[in-house]
């Protein structure tokens, strides 16, 4: 068994190269040094370096996905912030920018999906003096910048600038995302992962108190909600329509999750349209009461308004607001003090300033503090803990909203669900969670990420989903055995959040996705992941059912996610693979080897001795147990 594994290792390696080509995780260029590797280690280390997209295969073709076509190529100098100028040739396809160095040993490779590009700027002019002063500066959405210097003669950058602009920003050029021409094939179909009906059934819904409504089948009630909604049994579709009139963008309170024991629910919605005059709506008030009564609850319904109090008040000026005490005597309102998308965007910008290209070393901790990034993470996690605790320990139903209910609300409901329901901590469960709370409930991925849009300064852009993934990572750090997926899984999701290779995160709503026939014409990111699950599996995962997981949302434990935010810096990157994980894998291999050898011995022994006394550790038992495990 183990010998086979050892023999296969080179093959696995080869596979991973191909895999890396198929899955060009935006790569850094670095002169990683395979030359130091002894042969025995080469396979493992190169495999890991490949995860960063770095590659040094000498005679390798330019990687291409099925459906990917080459557009142009050019000699450039890549201004690597870590290793200095690198002479190379850049190849541009309809999917990626690929650079291969010509002189460096080992070869420097840069492999960047065009979807990652946020902004392309020309630097210097035709008459600029100084070495490498003429070229392009590319700002990426994934915490890095790329600079290329070109020859000044003959406006050499003009065509490359135009090609890049055209293919990086298809939305601004009336052309298609690469996802629509991608012809990859996967063994799994990721579009089958999420079926709202079966997810609600998994939760035990509908039941005598909650019903499924098709009122939004054609997105007539709310064009940013999914077609299928779960609402209180005692509320009629007519009631829902009336409530919709009083909720921002018609995003009425609907069920996200129900506690299997307490029957308390997590509801989500947008802010009520209270306005300056303090408008009331009897239907909305009654509807919230129906929700409260649905789990036979006598105590008040808890409303978590994700915003800071002042922001909620300020929203009255634009017609919004929050549930006042007078109008909702049976509800208790708490503000969770999470700031808006603009604050988060600025915070991430500051974070980038201190980690890229160089890490601010002299006052690292106070610099990190001044970005407030971890503080925002803390507030989001604290909010989610409160929601989860209220539902679980407080046995009370909760209603979560912010302004529109598609940013902070999605963060809070999905994180609370992750804390309460161990299903969402599996690979598939997490995919369902993202698909449900984020994609189907209209988190505006297109606006927040700016897929294929050249308007890099758009005020709608914000790293809300990244922040959510960061929170998940923080939880996985605190509970290293509670999640089926590993860090690579989270990083892969973030990489394809930008890559536009899959349809998963394209467009702002289910309604638009249906209009664009996304599930028919594109592939799902979950196809890629589920086709090679082992790569994304956390070896320490131990399945636990129904344990609520409360992270400690304290600055004492929150950490900067170095492997994501500082991954381009070869000097900071942490050991890959994580040494604890690596040791575990080694032990697993060793165990399998021993089991195989014991099995062999037992076969030979059995031929000699029949019916040997069956001890609890007899090899046959071991083997059968192991087999069920795999």
């Amino acid at each position: 068994m183990i010998r086979k594994l050892a023999e296969n290792t080179p093959k696995t390696w080869a596979c991973s190269i191909i895999e890396a080509d198929q899955a060009p995780i935006p790569g850094m260029a670095s002169s990683s040094t395979p030359k130091y590797n002894s042969n025995s280690l080469e396979s493992s280390s190169s495999k890991w370096t490949l995860k960063d997209g770095t590659n040094w295969e000498q005679n390798e073709e330019i990687p291409r996905l099925p459906g990917e076509t080459r557009v142009t190529d050019k000699d450039v100098i890549y201004m690597c912030p870590f290793n200095g100028p690198v002479k190379g040739r850049v190849y541009i396809t309809n999917y990626r920018l690929y650079l291969r160095s010509v002189e460096n040993d080992p070869v420097v490779i840069l492999n960047v999906p065009l979807g990652v590009i946020s902004r392309i700027e020309k630097m210097g002019g035709a008459s600029s003096r100084g070495e490498n002063s003429y070229g392009l500066d590319i700002t990426c959405k994934d915490m890095r910048n790329l600079r290329f210097a070109l020859k000044q003669e003959g406006h050499s950058r003009r065509d490359i600038f135009e090609v890049l602009t055209k293919y990086a920003f298809p939305q601004s050029h009336n052309s298609l995302f690469f996802a629509f021409v991608n012809e990859e094939k996967f063994s799994e179909n990721g579009w089958m992962v999420y079926n709202p009906m079966s997810e609600y059934r998994r939760q035990g819904l509908p039941n005598e108190r909650w019903r499924v409504t098709f009122i939004n089948e054609h997105y007539g009630l709310c064009d940013t909600y999914p077609s299928l909604l779960v609402v209180p049994y005692n509320a009629t579709d007519d009631d829902l329509k009336k409530v919709a009139a009083f909720r921002s963008r018609n995003r009425i309170p609907v069920l996200s999750w129900i506690h299997p024991e307490t029957q308390a629910v997590i509801m989500r919605c947008s802010q009520p349209l209270v306005g300056m005059s303090g408008k009331r709506n009897k239907d909305d008030e009654r509807y919230l009461d129906i929700i409260r009564e649905a789990n036979g609850q006598i105590s008040k319904l808890t409303i978590y308004d994700a915003r800071p109090n002042v922001n909620a008040v300020a929203n009255k000026a634009t017609g919004g607001g929050y549930e006042g005490e007078d109008a909702y005597p049976n509800a208790e309102l708490f503000f969770l003090d999470i700031h808006n998308i603009h604050v988060m965007r600025e915070s991430l910008k500051k974070l980038k300033d201190i980690v890229y290209p160089n890490v601010e070393e002299s006052h690292w901790l106070s610099s990190l503090e001044s970005t407030h990034w971890l503080e925002h993470i803390k507030l989001v996690l604290t909010g989610a803990i409160q929601v989860a605790d209220k539902v679980s320990s407080g046995r009370s139903s909760v209603l979560v909203h912010c302004s529109d209910g598609w940013d902070r609300t999605a963060q809070l409901t999905s994180l609370a669900m992750l804390m309460l329901d161990s299903y969402y901590r599996t690979i598939e469960g997490f995919e369902v969670l993202v698909q449900k709370e984020w994609i189907s409930f209209g988190h505006k991925f297109a606006s927040r990420i700016g897929h294929g849009d050249k308007n890099h300064a758009d005020a709608d852009r914000s790293p809300i989903f990244l922040q959510f993934i960061d929170c998940v990572w923080q939880m996985s750090k605190q509970f290293p055995t509670a999640f089926e997926f590993n860090e690579q899984f989270l990083i892969t999701i973030l990489d394809h959040l930008y890559s536009c290779r899959f349809g998963t995160f394209l467009y702002n709503s289910e309604f638009l996705r249906e209009k664009e026939k996304v599930t028919e014409k594109t592939l799902s990111l979950w196809s890629l992941i589920n086709s090679e699950k082992s790569k994304y599996t956390n070896p320490f995962y131990s399945k636990e059912v129904n344990r609520a997981l409360y992270p400690v949302a304290s600055m004492r434990h929150l950490e900067l996610w170095v492997n994501y935010y500082i991954r381009w810096n070869p000097r900071i990157r942490q050991q890959q693979p994580n040494p604890v994980e690596q040791r575990y894998m080694e032990l697993l291999a060793l165990r399998d080897d021993y089991i195989r050898r014991l099995e062999e011995l037992q076969i030979t022994n059995n031929s000699k001795i029949s019916n040997s006394s069956a001890s609890s550790t007899s090899p046959s038992q071991m083997v059968s147990q192991v087999q069920t495990h795999f």
């Binding site: 183990i2 010998r3 050892a6 290792t9 990683s32 040094t33 130091y36 590797n37 002894s38 025995s40 280690l41 396979s43 493992s44 280390s45 890490v359 070393e361 690292w364 901790l365 106070s366 990190l368 503090e369 503080e375 605190q478 509970f479 290293p480 055995t481 509670a482 070896p539 320490f540 131990s542 399945k543 636990e544 344990r547 409360y550 992270p551 400690v552 304290s554 600055m555 004492r556 434990h557 900067l560 170095v562 942490q574 050991q575 040494p579 604890v580 040791r583 575990y584 894998m585 080694e586 060793l590 165990r591 021993y594 050898r597 014991l598 006394s613 001890s615 609890s616 550790t617 090899p619």
Partner: protein
């Protein structure tokens, strides 16, 4: 919530067998009696005391008796520990006990009279305390209430604790009483083990070299291949210096006569001490400053020449003046006080917002980094520049201890084993005259307190965190080792130098009529005798399940590519991986050919890279980090701000708010342990099958499992036990931060205080 039911603590397990006391053998032990060690006496006690468990409620409080002995404060109760228990048991101390040497500050409070007072020794207390708060050096805060207790008795106990925890003389420390009793009554042994002597280093029974003898040093010379160095006995009987060990190692070319002559010029007559030899022949030497200005140059020259002559390449000596490039002991002490404030005293929520900058402002991590960085640079000098390194420091017994040990931990994998690490502490700390008595401040009157030893453990922890498979020991081991320095029983951490032990204990022996025979002073229990403190099962907590030992059969399994390690780390050295690294001891035939012959052969090859490219330090580090790590070679620290972290287990273990229930890295370690145990089990079955031996040996072998957590049969996929938390095996329950004293936040009392809680800060006394 914390559902694990442990057997009720039986006092029996650490009750001493006393020949004249028949009650011991009776099944029912009389309750609420303190368990005493030999020589331990009850000084005072008070009944009906309430020990506070939680900050916000008294519902978990325990009722019992508070006892002050000459060794510890003991709280004896019938009530079971609520919530979460400890998951190890110190055989010397009960669950609620605090050794007197661990006490930092004693505060008595009277609620109704609104008075409080910090109790010093021999002080009077003009009010009857309703409350006693003990601030411990290990960051714990323990609180007792006397609402139902006799007011006078309560007062007496408080005064007794104050008095006995702040002794005026070294010989008043409990260890002396204990050892005296043992010498008078040799039958009294704690846990059946001879309290004196080197003791058992670890489960495998290997002894930790104490470096008290000539032969220990000689073995170390052989182990490291330092053939041009010799053990010198001029200080036998401490004739030259009272702060040097009796035996130490010097260049072979220096004669005893010269050494004697030179010694007068060094501060404390501390001649240069050899620490370790790199396989390439470079030596690590520590040296005090030369006070004799006129002779300074000449002696310095002579010493350096001798060190050069002991180098196979005759390379120059690189001198590092530690006083100039590292934080001094006062700065480290100040950083530690700030860290303590931040971690324990300040209200949890109030410090959250500015946590990162507050942590930075303590400068603790900055200093940790400074030590790691400087040590790594000296590693570079020895490894790449092939020069001997001399650590120079005024007295050569503070920063040098830390730097010398860190360099060796990085360079020599032997020091990353349990026995090796312990021998390193013996060699570079205990024998080299690190002033444990003053720096730990056991007598609580010294302004020389400084947590250098903790700083060292913290630096090692950083390396352990970065290279978790390179160390045989776990972070629990490091934490418990730190705690052990606060138990005044072990001679290891009690004295300023070996001579002090001899001198003080001889005086003590004479006063107590103890016949010493030809022994040099009394022999105190050794901390490496872990069986004195922990059961063999609990000692398994010291083992790191990730460690890949060189001798582990699994590693040498040829079928596994995963275990093939490059041996690049010593490649630039003359002799490849020193054979020494196998077991820590070199056997004679394993020695490589004489150095001189090798040099001729290897020299060209050797200098080529150095000439070919500017082999700058930065380049060396960059190249090193680009390579895969050889866990049995050099390890170098990552030094970026993102990579130097706070040692949470050590500093947060008593803070309930910071505890991750059912989580923390221990849960992953738990999984690794189970798997490692399973692999062990399979390996044993395999060997058994092969040797066709009977099943008899099987059971005893199973008991030898290295893992604290054991697999419940094969392929144990059961989840983590409920009791795991980020504080494991410690528990923050019962160790509480008091938010305020009489309505004034604690931080108000403490902020600006030079010492953690000095008498001045609580001026509002009776």
């Amino acid at each position: 919530m914390f559902s694990l039911k442990q057997p009720k603590p039986t006092f029996k397990s650490y009750l001493l067998p006393q020949a004249d006391d028949n009650t011991v053998s009776e099944p029912r032990i009389k309750k609420l009696e303190p368990v005493l060690l030999p020589g331990e006496i009850v000084v005072n006690e008070v009944n009906f005391v309430r020990k506070c468990i939680a900050t916000d409620t008294s519902q978990y409080d325990l009722w019992g008796k508070l006892v002050c002995t000459n060794f510890k404060i003991s709280f004896i109760t019938d009530d079971p520990m609520p919530l979460q228990k400890f998951h190890y048991k110190n055989l010397l101390l009960g669950e609620h006990d605090v050794p007197l040497t661990c006490i930092e500050q004693i505060v008595t409070v009277n609620d109704t009279k609104r008075k409080q007072k910090v109790l010093g020794p021999n002080q009077k207390l003009k009010f009857n305390p309703t409350e006693l708060i003990i601030y411990c050096k290990d960051f714990r805060i323990v609180r007792f209430r006397f609402d139902e207790a006799g007011p006078e008795s309560a007062k007496k106990v408080c005064l007794a604790i104050a008095h006995y925890s702040q002794p005026t003389d070294l010989q008043l420390l409990f260890a002396f009483e204990y050892v005296g009793e043992i010498y008078h009554n040799p039958a009294k042994k704690v846990n059946g083990i001879d309290p004196g002597g080197g003791g058992i280093g670890n489960a495998s029974g290997q002894q930790t070299p104490l470096f008290e003898t000539y032969s220990d040093w000689d073995r170390e010379i052989k182990r490291t291949g330092a053939s041009e160095w010799r053990v010198c006995s001029v200080n036998e009987g401490y004739m030259i210096s009272t702060c040097l060990p009796e035996y130490f190692v010097v260049p072979s070319s220096l004669a005893d006569q010269d050494l004697k002559l030179y010694s007068y010029s060094f501060i404390g007559r501390r001649m240069p001490l050899w620490s370790w030899n790199h396989p390439n022949g470079s030596a690590l030497v520590r040296m005090a400053n030369i006070k004799d200005v006129l002779q300074q140059r000449r002696i310095d020259q002579r010493i350096c020449n001798a060190i050069t002559r002991s180098h196979p390449l005759r390379s120059d000596v690189y001198k590092s003046d530690l006083d100039k490039c590292l934080p001094n002991i006062q700065e480290i002490q100040a950083a530690h006080i700030k860290l303590k404030q931040l971690c324990v005293n300040e209200p949890f929520d109030e410090t959250e917002e500015k946590w990162l900058s507050s942590l930075e402002n303590t400068r603790w991590l900055e200093y940790v980094r400074a030590f790691l960085k400087h040590s790594a640079e000296l590693v570079y000098m020895m490894e790449c520049k092939h020069v001997s390194v001399v650590l120079q420091e005024e007295e050569g017994r503070d920063l040098s201890c830390l730097a010398a040990s860190l360099i060796q931990v990085m360079l020599d994998p032997y020091f990353r084993t349990i026995v090796g690490f312990q021998s390193l502490i013996q060699k570079e700390w205990v024998m080299a005259g690190y002033q444990f008595l003053d720096r730990c401040n056991h007598l609580k009157r010294s302004d020389k307190e400084s947590p250098l030893f903790l700083m060292f453990l913290d630096c090692v922890w950083q390396l352990l965190e970065q290279y978790p498979a390179a160390f045989e020991f776990s972070e629990v081991y490091l934490t418990i080792l730190y705690d052990s320095a606060r138990i005044s029983l072990f001679g290891t951490f009690l004295f300023n130098c070996p001579h002090q032990r001899v001198k003080e204990s001889t005086e003590f022996a004479i006063s107590k009529n103890i016949q010493l025979g030809d022994e040099k002073g009394l022999r105190f229990p050794c901390v490496w005798d872990w069986s004195l403190q922990f059961s063999s099962r609990d000692r398994l907590l010291f083992h790191n399940p990730l460690y890949i030992g060189k001798s582990a059969p699994s590693v040498h399994n040829g079928a596994l590519w995963t275990f093939k390690r490059s041996k690049k780390n010593y490649s630039s050295t003359l002799r490849g991986v020193p054979p020494a690294l196998k077991n820590g001891i070199i056997s004679e035939q394993e020695f490589l050919p004489r150095r001189n012959s090798l040099i001729l052969k290897l020299k060209p090859d050797f200098f080529q890279p150095a000439e070919g490219q500017s082999h700058s330090m930065e380049q060396y580090f960059r190249d090193w980090f680009a390579k895969p790590v050889d866990l049995h070679g050099i390890i170098l620290p990552h030094l970026s701000g993102t990579q130097i972290k706070l040692w949470k287990l050590c500093y947060f273990r008593w803070v309930p708010e910071a505890q991750i229930n059912h989580g923390g890295s221990i849960t992953a370690f738990h999984r690794v342990s189970l798997l490692a145990d399973e692999v062990d089990m399979l390996n044993r079955s395999l060997r058994q099958y092969k040797s066709n031996s009977s099943l008899q040996g099987h059971c005893s072998e199973l008991d030898q499992s290295r893992m604290y957590f054991r697999a419940n049969g094969l392929n144990d996929t059961s989840g983590a036990p409920d009791f795991l938390s980020s504080s494991f095996p410690f528990s923050p329950v019962g160790n509480l931060c008091r938010r305020s004293i009489l309505g004034t936040p604690l931080s108000k009392f403490l902020s600006g205080a030079k010492i953690w809680l000095s008498t001045e800060t609580l001026a509002n006394e009776d």
